[in-house]
Amino acid sequence: MIFGGTMLSNGLVFARYSLAEWIQGLLGDRLEMIPEWILFPLLMLAGCLVIIGFITVFALFAIWMERKVSAHMQCRLGPMEVGFHGALQTIADGVKLLGKEDIVPRHADKLLHYLAPIIVFAGVFPLFVVVPFSEKILISDINLGLFFVAAVGAVEVVGVIMAGWASNNKWSLFGAMRAATQLVSYEIPLGLAFLTIILLAGSFSMVDIIHQQEGWLSNWFLFHNPFMPIIFLSFFTASLAECKRAPFDLPEAESELVSGFHTEYSGMKFSIFFLAEYAAMYVVCAIAAVMFLGGWSTGIKPLEAWLADSAGNPMREVLSNTVHLVVIVTKSMFLVFVQMWLRWTLPRIRLDQIMHVCLKVLLPWTMVAMVATSAIELCWPGGNMVLTALTIVIWSIPLLWTLKAILDMTVGIFLKFVPSGR
Amino acid sequence: MTSEEILKRLQDQFGEAILGTDDSSLNLTVKVASETLLEISRFCRDDSSLSFDLLSLVSGVDWTDRIESVIHLDSTAHKHHLVLKVDCDHESPRCPSVVEIWNAADWHERETYDMFGIIYEGHPNLVRILCAEDWEGYPLRKDYLMPDEYHGIPNDFQQAGKRPQKYNPRG
């Protein structure tokens, strides 16, 4: 309770630091009595609590958002009863799931059945260690950030296979096999995209990567050269597949495999899978924002410079952190929204087609784009303004086209409300 | 082709094997002997002036003294219709199967077997289709009585004299 109160009173910014201050305030002089080797795990644990709080809030919000987005895309209202526009619906569902009976099939491998959700969640949660929110609000800037993501992200597959395997159910096993092939093969384009970014930034560290992209918007790696959008699209597609989101939701394709690898999971175990999925959604989108969209950078050079000039100006620092937090979360949430948008628009593709897309489309293209990027980086270190301009021009065409479609759609909706003659 | 022409074509071809027509029917209905059914059917399908390529329905009618197996045929090209009827014995109805001519007859014959007990000879997989495999009796026969229970599920309606219980959702 006190923790929450402190957090609120100081705002989300500096949550972790305020916690440290809180501990200091609580203990005062006695602080030195606490051995460091206990103090530090405690501080880390505090970070965990902040993140788990964030995940929970994010999951609650994302699920609500998903429902609302899908509903409004489908001319429905979505949840409306619990709370303002159904905002508390997810909590109600969570409480319901908490009270659901946990059923384990008789012939299941009980141990593995129990371990699977743990591994899936433990494969996603540590990823938040490297997800940055602003210069100050990040758990840890691991030296090997992106590589860490690539490695730990691979652990989730094990949990999924375990779940499908242990259920002793044909549908689950189908789902597990599909998940294994899909998640495994989409890691290659993902890894190649990571490589390209590391190549450009010369570092694995998330913070370094963001710092490389500060300044004007044209510094974002997305606009580095005409091949980068290919890498971005490839990364985004692969991340959709890694999150098992439509149109790559084959492992849990409800119309084919009933519920795929978690067919035999109920209650809290099921909701852990769910939570992990939404957490992974945020992680991949945040990482995409860091890798391609300049992370917390606003893309306006004077503003960045003004924000960075915080020497002797603590309020400026707070402001800078807040702005950066808002910027990166907005970017990530926009990508999350695109994920949802795609989910509610596209049909699901088939297993052989998923392999086709990965191995015959994404893999060669990403490879070529990566080599091209490295060649460009070799010829023009630090990028070339002409190429950047070219990129923006070439890729703004499909972008503008999409924007036009959105505009048509929204204007159409407004026109609908204009009373017609009939 | 009109009904008369079809009939004439069949009679020219098969003569005595065409046992007659059923005048009470509004469609051209030809009664055939069960031995010649296959031959006639094949002719109906293959003859270019008849070309009955679509089997609409195989059904049965229980006339208490006999059971009729009825085959409805359509031609998508000539847009005419023909009904073939085969009389079967009421006690042990048997009839040749036309599955080898029209695959569509497969399920229809299984259903007719299921409902009337007509054994279609030569059918590749003559098992019950709608009723459970261990169901007893042939429901669409006129002398059929519902069993009192099936695997412990009682048949409430046939308990003599008892009116069906009023539905009470609260038990």
Partner: protein, 157 residues
Amino acid sequence: MTMASMYFDYANVAVFFVFAVVFVILNISVISVILRPTVENDQKDTTYECGEPSVGSSWVRFDMRFYTVALVFLIFDVEVAFLYPWAVVFKDLRGAIGGSATGVFVFLEAAIFLLILFVGLIYVWKRGDLDWVKSSSAQEVDARQRQMIEAKDEVRL
């Protein structure tokens, strides 16, 4: 980056990992146990198979193609792992301005490395190991069908 600082970073990861495990166990085995009912039912514990008793065992031997996909993945995974150190030093080695000789050399090293593996990919691709369903006699079916329709038309005329 000193060792101690590195340990500090990864201690965070460890704490997160342990926390995740504890969090899930707490949810599944403590909080939920208090709240949820447990009603024993024989039917409930059966494996779901669309409302029918399972036919056969769920023992299934999967297709070879799964193996090939995993194989391709593994090889490329190792390749990517090899290239990470290259990528991180590329910027340092390529020289400050323009392509220095070392830079070109380093670039070519990786390019050859990738090319050799790309040959492997193309080999597997061309052999059809990446195709899931071998396209059957689809053309044949099509031809047969068109023939049928033409025959129909003749009858109609």
